[in-house]
Symmetry: C2
Amino acid sequence: MKRERWQKEFSEWFNQMLRDADIMDTRYPVKGLYVWLPYGLKLRNSVFEIIKHLLNDSGHQEVLFPLLIPEDIFKKEAEHIRGFEGEVYWVTHGGRDKLDVKLALRPTSETSIYPMFARWIRSHADLPIKVYQIVNIFRYETKMTKPMMRLREVTTFKEAHTAHKNWDEAEAQVKKAVEIYKRFFDELGVPYVVTKRPPWDTFAGAKYSLAFDTLAPDLKTLQVGTIHNLGQNFAKVYDLKFETAEGKHDFVYQTCYGVSERVIAAVMMVHGDDHGLCMPPAVAPIQVVAVPIPFKEEETPVQQIAESVVNELNSIGVRAHLDVRDIRPGKKFYDWERHGVPLRLEIGPEDVKKAQVVAVRRDTGEKQIIQRQAIRTKVKQLLDEISGDLRDRAWKRFKEIIHEASDVKSIKQIIGKKGGMVRVPWCEQEACGQMLEEQAGVEILGQEFDGKHASGICPICSKRAKSYVLMAKTY
Amino acid sequence: MKRERWQKEFSEWFNQMLRDADIMDTRYPVKGLYVWLPYGLKLRNSVFEIIKHLLNDSGHQEVLFPLLIPEDIFKKEAEHIRGFEGEVYWVTHGGRDKLDVKLALRPTSETSIYPMFARWIRSHADLPIKVYQIVNIFRYETKMTKPMMRLREVTTFKEAHTAHKNWDEAEAQVKKAVEIYKRFFDELGVPYVVTKRPPWDTFAGAKYSLAFDTLAPDLKTLQVGTIHNLGQNFAKVYDLKFETAEGKHDFVYQTCYGVSERVIAAVMMVHGDDHGLCMPPAVAPIQVVAVPIPFKEEETPVQQIAESVVNELNSIGVRAHLDVRDIRPGKKFYDWERHGVPLRLEIGPEDVKKAQVVAVRRDTGEKQIIQRQAIRTKVKQLLDEISGDLRDRAWKRFKEIIHEASDVKSIKQIIGKKGGMVRVPWCEQEACGQMLEEQAGVEILGQEFDGKHASGICPICSKRAKSYVLMAKTY
């Protein structure tokens, strides 16, 4: 697979793209904190509108919990706090007073939400509960930070929390969450694998964790969503007891699942190219830009026609924009290309005469002539085609980098030379898994969810493999 | 003016209403922090959608800045920090580390936004800048806290920030902001006065502050919006310099204006009654609830018709809900009344036969029969009538409590007996103003914006008055 410049120099490409496309200003004077610019924020809002709709339509209700969690409540679940205590920000002072109880900035909201669940749940009739919120969360990252990917303030975190009357219902909810996230990433054209994380990479306090990973252009994987079956762990700590239909008492079974603004990074990186960003139409702040190409005395009709085209497209719900800036058309083309606008319409005097526009696709550069009276249908059709093609292209690339290997040497070789992911047979023993990571210098993402039946032997102990794991260098 | 029970016992009414209408859970274990429940959050989202549209349509762009502000940057503007230092929360630790530089939780965002403005503004061509964000902000309140009104985490704060090339443009922007807020409150049916706050109640760092106040049912005023002309104060501190058209250098002129979730408290309190909440249709999470009233064997057709009515209303953009719970209709009526649903439709066997529904207004209790085929137009018309009537009723009440007084004794008497606001002539000397507040035991809201020309004498110094001030007990 030939790799393009933007893939080889991904890190520079990403930063350049954030600037050129007005996504974020990365010069805020605190490490790991960034400023969303208007164009970037529109993208962010569109992406999270999609997940909101998916959640609302599947029986989730939006709520909003406080950011601050008192230390004593935060620290009740011992395993959870062990997982987070290294990266929690603490508020210790209010005004000139030292606080009696320190307050944590939520790194995630289990410990603020579940004590309230305890007040809401009395009987099986109160179950299931399915809520979500979209909030800012905080992690004191000591590693290298990166916009949208490794942050101290995650400005946009969607976390869903559910409570059920038995294990089976919670398991069914995990499967539903997988379906919801699949639909979400499919709408964004972001390819993924779903794996069950190994025990040593399970969410602190969970029975097990599933995760969605996609692939960055530098062929490292990026975790873009997680789903946790919490069993009764938190329920026992926060006393989430309910009366069953039979009049007995039990603790609820819980799940939680989250996606963050990493999804936005993923959208931008899987659809990029050497010219920068290429937005999928579903979330593009501007889907179509019309550029009038005036020629001497014919300026007015050209601009008028361009305006009427834009109005017509807006009227059918297409996000169209007319660029009337007093700069050369070539400069405009370049600018909108960098902003990843999926479709450009050029309208010059000749086009006005012939009652047509010239449409140029951002993804392929392909030009075609659209008759003025067919503009609505044709533009919608082109946007659909672009969505499909971007998704197909991203998936094609993605599938090409899943390799097979059955010994440590090949794993190292493949990852070293080709990058991407390697599918490896595993005996499911924790010790072997950790040894495998260590020897190969590559992380285990996890066992493939709904993956194929294993054959072969574990590269460490040579016993019969029970499942496959995917391994990769990760973000 | 006869006062109803809910007005006399406002504080209890408000808390009861929050519970009965599922707006908020106030049992979160930290003072001044509360949990938005799904129904309340929908109201909150609708209210802030309105202001977002108004801002987008008037050339503002949405951005998102970090929550955390480093101490050194936060403390640059001396007057600003004097205004806030008593109520700022400080993050001092990340994980197990003490931070080198303390981080403030933003109490408002001037000090996080303006240092970035300095990077965005080079020349007059970069101006004006008009941005806004909707974020959570924090105040270490030591006074009594109250949901939505006096908070430690204001979960929902819309703040707009603008920069201009001269004083006149900034002044013009202040006037535009007043217009935007007037339209906002008019859409919500919330009555208001606009005053220029006295110098001792001006926003820390501003040249002057305007404020919108409405009236709580207990006849104390509630500040629901503020607009500040910052002049060049912050510009000089954060070095917001630009090159003018003439090639000179100047500091920008700035304004900022904000509304918080207090607006939501205002919406609920100005339209309430002894039965609880009464939502204005513009922001009601459910605008119309249909309650089937089944009778023996005729259950199925009644429910089917009710369902078709709801679907029809949803299809024209009315937020209609079908209540099919297995409880008595009377219980449903009571429940939706508490939730403030503007219009209830009752559908029984008799109505099915006659191809009609019975519509009951939440605000007046008035019943009327609507023919099935006229349902769309009639429901829309009724919702419009309810919006207008709620607004008129609120404004009527509001105007009734603006009294006139010209000496300290009358001010005390009026506020003591009747509550509300008193209009008082003032010489505009700061000393007299503060003395007036002290002697009357009542606060000065400020001078009426666009108020009538003053006559009479200052109640303190007996010199000729220059303007009127409004005085009231305030939240």
